[in-house]
């Protein structure tokens, strides 16, 4: 097998069409369509889960049944028929990954196309990879190095078996099962995801990275991620995903919970590249994600995201600043093109004293897309000296797209200092002509201008992600100016 280098990846990312629209032919073990309590129990049984886990899922299901799908977001889409989806899918070949030879060759091929072949990943120093294909994790690397530091990084399904006390203690504490429609659904049927625990005082020596992928047509994917940073620890976590192009809409409803205990820090970076649908708005992933962090005393959580994919995105990574002096940050680039719709933003809930939050949101809209920022800054009555700075910039390309900003501020303590800045700009003919005159064609000029616009956020990404993110921005906007 020839080596897949970073240049190859770059090359691949340069090409026009949504590159990762291939579909692996791995035999899958998929449940019949439909959802009821028996299905929930069956999922739990299939995964050999302890009773507390089964009960937790069932309870979530009962809550979900009584809930209505929310419709307050600024997005329009055909409501998924939840009885038309299958809720479990696992690759039939379940390799024990002692060596790569045991992996299904098709799967390896898939990794190759994704540019994350394991050989290469292993060589990539400092990146541990937990690859999720469909619902069941099939590979975990760097486990040993992490193990030496006492760091746990494994599929959550394994963590339920191996570290039930930790999972039980923290699961659902930041995003309760009843939090919202999609979170409840996820809690009932979550397939797999990652679990990460950094022990007291440990600085995780490498970026922890997960690649997600929807594979089986018609199978909703319900990832569940739980990251716990114990007192005084530090971790940087990368989440990236690609999906095969499918004609029917695919539902993705993930839940991510971050727990930052006293004096700890979590950096959570996402490059989201789900299939956005074609230029006519057909197909594409529906992405309804609940991401939330809780920060104890002196803890800090940074969410950084680059959102280029999905037909419909509904996503608000949030921070509950519970402890005194805790810090929450949200840096986001959301690109929409063609008929994509994104309603994203954050919630910063200031509860502790001297809590600080920063929100930098960059929305880029092209084609006939709609891009909304929705953010809440809440300062509780006891949050003395809370401070927030928010900046929401929108960049428009053409006349058919829309950018919307919905900032909500609730300040219940008079000492709060809240600053909000918003700008909207358009890529001007004059800017393009200026670039053209210097020999830069329009497509490249747009990429340059967009990169400049997004720079504050791109700079927050770990190096290995920043390059890919820039390429994704370029690809997402290709063909957006006639």
């Amino acid at each position: 097998m020839s080596k897949y280098t970073e240049e190859d990846l770059e090359q691949e990312l340069k090409t026009k069409e949504y590159e990762y629209g291939f579909y692996t032919d791995i035999e899958s073990d998929t449940f019949a369509k439909g959802l009821n309590e028996d299905v929930v129990r069956a999922i739990s049984k299939k995964k050999n889960e302890p009773k507390w886990m089964t009960d937790w899922r069932v309870e979530a299901f009962r809550v979900w049944e009584k809930m209505e799908e929310p419709d307050w977001a600024n997005v329009n889409y055909p409501k998924p028929d939840f009885q038309e989806l299958a809720y479990y899918s696992a690759p039939k070949v379940k390799p024990k990954l002692d060596s790569l030879d045991e992996v299904d060759p098709d799967l390896l091929e898939t990794f190759k196309k994704l540019g994350i072949s394991l050989e290469e990943q292993k060589r990539l120093a400092n990146v541990a990879v937990d690859i999720v294909i469909d619902s069941v994790s099939v590979a975990t690397t760097f486990k040993k190095t992490l193990g030496e530091k006492g760091i746990i990084f494994m599929p959550i399904s394994e963590a339920i078996q191996e570290h039930p006390e930790l999972v039980k203690k923290y699961l659902g504490t930041v995003v309760p099962t009843s939090d919202n429609f999609y979170a409840a659904l996820n809690s009932a049927v979550f397939s797999d995801g990652s679990f990460c625990y950094i022990p007291k005082g440990v600085r995780c020596p490498m970026e922890l990275s997960t690649y997600f992928r929807i594979n089986e047509g018609g199978t909703g994917q319900f990832e569940r991620t739980l990251v716990v940073a114990d007192k005084g620890s530090y971790v940087s976590y990368l989440e990236g995903c690609t999906a095969p192009s499918r004609d029917e809409n695919q539902l993705h409803a993930a839940v991510v919970e971050l727990i930052a205990l006293d004096d700890s820090e979590i950096k959570y970076s996402t490059v989201q590249n789900w299939y956005p649908g074609d230029a006519e708005g057909k197909g594409g992933v529906f992405n309804f994600v609940t991401k939330r962090a809780i920060c104890e005393t002196n803890a800090k959580v940074s969410w950084t995201q680059v959102e280029t994919g999905s037909a419909v995105t509904w996503k608000y990574p949030s921070c509950i600043l519970k402890g005194n002096n805790s810090v929450g940050e949200f840096y986001s680039i959301a690109v929409t093109n063609h008929y994509q719709q994104a309603d994203t933003g954050t919630k910063m809930i200031h509860l502790g004293k001297n809590t600080k939050s920063t929100i930098i949101s960059k929305g880029i809209s092209a084609g006939k897309s709609q891009n909304s920022y929705r953010g809440l800054v809440h300062v509780g009555a006891r949050a003395e000296n809370a401070r927030n700075f928010s900046q929401c910039d929108s960049l428009l390309m053409g006349n058919a797209c829309g950018a919307h900003t919905f900032p909500y501020i609730e300040a219940k303590n008079k000492s709060a200092q809240i600053e909000h800045e918003a700008t909207t700009s358009k890529i001007g003919e004059d800017q393009l002509f200026y670039c053209n005159q210097r020999g830069i064609d329009t497509e490249k000029a747009i990429a340059l201008i967009v990169n400049g616009f997004s720079k504050e956020v791109l700079n927050k990404l770990p190096m290995e992600f920043a390059v890919e993110a820039q390429k994704l921005l370029e690809i997402s906007l290709e063909g957006s100016v006639g």
Partner: protein, 250 residues
């Protein structure tokens, strides 16, 4: 190098250029002067390929080839450079990144590899020294918050980096202080050779003391109405344009 014959151009049905002729040969420096609104910037923009103008008549030839079908970036690849009267801002894109992209895109168009970073750095160092530009300045966002003079000096820095065949400097002198004017003019002179040509559009004789033109043209009401040598600029400085307008109308 550049040959324009009977150029007519309009925008929104407003006729701006009305039968303009000019020929610029390699190794020459031409100055174009003329009252506000005469069409000087329009001419520069049309040569550079700005698409919002309708060219209704006439031919523009660059090195014997009609360039009317070429996109602005293709003209740039063929060696046309325009120092803008009003350079635009591109937030978040550093001068260095911008010029690097410009150079590499031009090389790509010619089938060349990217310029090695080492050579690029060396060139940046040389040219910024030539134009006495503080290198910290090159990390700033392109033209964002630049003073009027800084913008103009930055245009000439880009010109120095791109080494064009035909450079059109549209009022590069306005906004420059006395020292900057000398530095910029000096830079332009250093870049001059028998293989390239420069057109300077200006209102003031002062620049022409440094960059001595072979020809001075007066553009009035969409046409070149008078052509002379460097002394014409002095005459204009002393007498203004009225006498020329009268000459034309009589």
């Amino acid at each position: 190098m550049l040959k324009i014959n009977n150029l007519h151009a309009s925008i929104d049905d407003k006729s701006i250029l009305k039968g303009l002729n000019i020929e610029v040969k390699a190794g020459e420096v031409h100055a174009i002067m003329g009252p506000n609104g005469a069409g000087k910037s329009t001419l520069a923009n049309i040569v550079a390929g700005k698409e919002e103008y309708d060219v209704t008549e006439g031919v523009i030839e660059l090195n014997g080839e009609d360039i009317s079908e070429l996109a602005p970036e293709e003209r740039a690849h063929n060696g046309v450079f325009l120092s803008f009267q009003y350079p635009v801002e591109i937030p978040g894109v550093s001068v260095t990144n911008f010029i690097k992209t410009a150079i590499n895109e031009t090389r790509k168009a010619k089938g060349l590899e990217d310029m090695p970073a080492k050579d690029m750095l060396k060139m940046i160092r040389e040219k910024s020294e030539l134009l006495e530009i503080d290198r910290k300045f090159l990390s700033r966002s392109l033209n964002e918050g630049f003073s009027g003079g800084e913008k103009k000096r930055n245009e000439i820095f880009q010109m120095a980096m791109l080494e064009p065949k035909l450079a059109i400097l549209d009022e590069t002198d306005s906004g420059l202080d006395i020292d900057a004017l000398r530095i910029v003019a000096n830079g332009v002179n250093k870049l001059k050779s028998k293989d390239n040509a420069v057109i300077v559009i200006t209102h003031y004789q002062r620049l022409l003391e440094y960059i001595v033109p072979d020809f001075v043209h007066v553009l009035h009401d969409g046409k070149i109405v008078k052509t002379g040598d460097a002394s014409l600029a002095l005459e204009l400085e002393a007498k203004g344009y009225d006498w020329i307008k009268k000459e034309v109308n009589s």
